[in-house]
Symmetry: C2
Subunit: 474 residues, 2 copies
């Protein structure tokens, strides 16, 4: 593979020939900062092309000059896929000027958008047409759909509607050789050749740049019921999920695990957030149904509560009696990451497990962690998807800074344990640069070798987001 | 690319060393026959390995000898992906001995199976545990899950549950170089590298052989309501679908278009099938809800009927009052392909269109066809997915044999028209050998070039199902 070169005056001059002045960003600093502050990227230049063709032209010029390109969406990624700290100074390619909603077809339940449209703007456009775009996560106001596709973002509604991958019908992709793959169809069924759409989704900008997408919309549930139920254990919570499916089928919109530690962290750092239950129970589930027509969602939730109480799967609970109460329960769930940041984790993990292995994993993880020290554990998240955010904190009264040395062994213990149970070290955040070594350690070696081959096929000069997902080859 | 060689005595001898006698099939004839009789395949030898490792060993031997391999599931494919009529005599690799259900986890809604398990056997295993495996189509008793994955089979429940692709969690795949890619996870969320699972799904055995799969199960709806509604036009039918979503959300299990011609064909060829409505209305929709718990499905259907009648989207209809009546409506729908075969189509098409383009396509297609001759058209199928089976028949009293010359121009007209509306020439059957030229004509050229690169990467000697999906290179 040819060696990569730093962005230089010659390439900058060529870019100024093909792009309008509005495409150039004077201040490159924001594009080199990463949310968690673990990485500091570089940017020889930041350009924001205005169309798929311009993106393709930029890639072709960079490719000819062997200059690395870092595609940049909203910059909210959590695994440093959007910042390149090492190697020659890259060209940062921002999608921020591609924010057009190309077409919305509510009767067809489809919206076609530029890759730079923020996730929340798609939600809003859908809502204006009485439709639901279900992709939803904390950073949705800033995150763009192109980045969400490139990382196959998850979030709160995956249980019912799937990850970003499942929400996508078609893609337009600019390739490093300057071509545009136009597979921006709106078809629900199309069996004509290899699935390159799903290959680009989750590739984290290492194969090409997603420039446009056709995404699914849904009818908006008209009735919701939200409850916070106290459950004796994660195992009971999973039985509760099975029982809920008997009552509500696939109309369960959320099934989120909350731990007592999460509530205690909120108490300590966000005292204004209203907490139910005192003292905090060890395990709770936030469950939400979204129903249609004249269905009585609250009655259905009460029915589930009664059946679950009878089966000793729940011991207490709050069924929201108003929209405001429902919002309050969600506010509690959404405060957990904020409280976690205020406490300061030694190590954070976005892991997934086969559902039936979850309870045993949680028990064993807790025991192993206790052997390593008196750490606090806040384990919460999308239980219905088998996706836990599993974060380890210093003992009470101590600071993260005093336990930096524990980070690596804690992470290794947890990821080894996850792998042993057939789980994943990255459920919804992706690999980025943070987890390249994890992928090498835990990934199937045959799959990895095939991935390297695909990378060489799509990007023979290795200019696309070098060092993300796969170690940069030289 | 090295030239392919016919299967010879040396390879047969090597295969006899590694496989037990039970793996060899004396009668190769059934493996060379294709359902529609348009192709006659070849088989130098038919082997049925018993494990992923054996499949991989067989592939490695064939690869070393440059002998083509045709993977064989249930043999029910409709596009000749399972029969190789040209080139050196291939080794047919049948999955028929790999029929083990490896694990079923009803609490987790997962079943893990060998690739040779028939689709119906998975349905039955799920039902025994009070779960639903929703993949369902005419050939389900014979079709195997490996073939269904390789062709991304669709069927009757796609509207609600997705195609085979969406039902798959993880895969085990034997590659032509003798390696096995083990990505047989049961995870709902796993963002660790390129999506090779979806690359193998729908690749029609041209990249490797799927040997095992983890598939999703669902809670079984407890209440169903089935209705056959008379609608004035396909445009009204699509509005009916939107309205149905307002009432029932994603709980619509089926939304099938039936035409008056379909009923007249049944009358002519299957007089014992009970037909409602006389004379046959021009357009009908078979709609089914699957609900949970104590929901009153029939009342919901009546509510939809009343609202749709009010909106002039339906003019008449039958809401099944018993399971037997519901089954009778489905029997009618399922008799259409049989009646079509009895009449004998000049040309059959498995097409899909963007939903909002469907009504105009149907009108224009009918007008264009009328210009070509007094042909009869039976247009029916999975309207909710935008997937029509669009079949052209000779004028009444004439036979297909008298109109063979019309097949090519009719097909070209229809596929051109589909492409013009942004549709697909293969919604759910795949490309196989039948539609290779269509893919070349209508596929995005950049995608095609990338597909060829991927084929060379996975299968450098071109032994895997040569001539399927992509023209064999030499």
């Amino acid at each position: 593979m040819p060696e990569l070169a730093a962005l230089d005056a010659a390439l900058t001059a060529r870019l100024r020939e093909i792009l309008p002045p509005a495409a150039f960003r004077d201040d490159t600093t924001p594009y080199t900062e990463e949310l968690r502050g673990s990485y500091r990227g570089q940017a020889g230049l930041v350009v924001a092309p205005g169309s798929a063709q311009e993106v393709a032209q930029v890639l072709a010029l960079a490719n000819d000059a062997r200059v690395p390109v870092v595609p940049y969406g909203g910059g909210t990624g959590l695994v440093a896929g959007q910042v390149m700290p090492e190697g020659p100074a890259p060209l940062v390619l921002s999608l921020e000027r591609m924010t057009r909603i190309r077409q919305i077809l509510p009767e067809e339940n489809v919206i076609t958008v530029d890759a730079g449209v923020p996730v929340e703007a798609i939600q809003q456009a859908a809502a204006e047409h009485d439709r639901l775009f279900p992709l939803s996560f904390g950073a949705q106001g800033t995150a763009r759909i192109g980045g969400s596709l490139s990382t196959n973002a998850g979030g709160a509604n995956v249980l019912r509607y799937g990850t970003t991958r499942e929400l996508c019908l078609g893609l337009e992709v600019a390739l490093p050789d300057g071509r545009v793959m136009n597979t921006l169809t709106r078809l629900r069924k199309d069996n004509t050749g290899y699935d390159l759409r799903d290959l680009m989704i989750g590739a984290e900008g290492t194969l090409g740049v997603i420039t446009g997408a056709a995404m699914k919309l849904f009818a908006r549930p008209t009735r919701r019921a939200t409850a916070l139920l106290v459950t004796p254990s994660p195992a009971a919570a999973l039985k509760l999920l099975s029982l809920a499916r008997v009552h509500a089928g696939e109309q369960i919109t959320a099934f989120e695990l909350i731990s007592g530690m999460g509530l205690r962290f909120i108490e300590a750092t966000l005292p204004d957030i209203r907490r139910p239950f005192d003292p905090a129970p060890e395990w709770m589930v936030l469950i939400e149904f979204g129903l249609f027509g004249e269905a009585d969602a609250e009655a259905l939730m009460e029915e589930l509560f009664a059946a679950a109480f009878e089966a000793e799967l729940v011991s207490d609970g709050i069924i929201a009696q108003s929209e405001a109460q429902a919002d309050g329960l969600w506010q509690l769930r959404e405060a957990i990451p904020e409280a976690n940041r205020a406490i300061g984790a030694i190590s954070s993990h976005d892991i997934s497990l086969p559902l039936s292995a979850l309870p045993e994993f949680i028990d064993e993880g807790r025991a192993r962690l206790a052997e390593m020290g008196p750490y606090r554990l806040n384990c919460f998240g999308h239980l219905g998807d088998g996706n836990l955010h599993y974060n380890v904190f210093p003992p009470e009264g101590e600071a993260r800074a005093d336990h930096l040395a524990a980070k690596a062994p804690v992470m290794e213990m947890i990821h080894d344990l996850v792998a042993g149970y057939g789980g994943s070290f990255s459920a919804e955040h992706g690999v980025g640069r943070l987890k390249v070594a994890d992928l090498e350690r835990y990934g199937d070696p045959v799959k990895l070798e095939l991935m390297r081959g695909i990378k060489r096929l799509f990007d023979p000069n290795g200019i696309m987001n070098p060092g993300a997902v796969l170690r940069a080859e030289s």
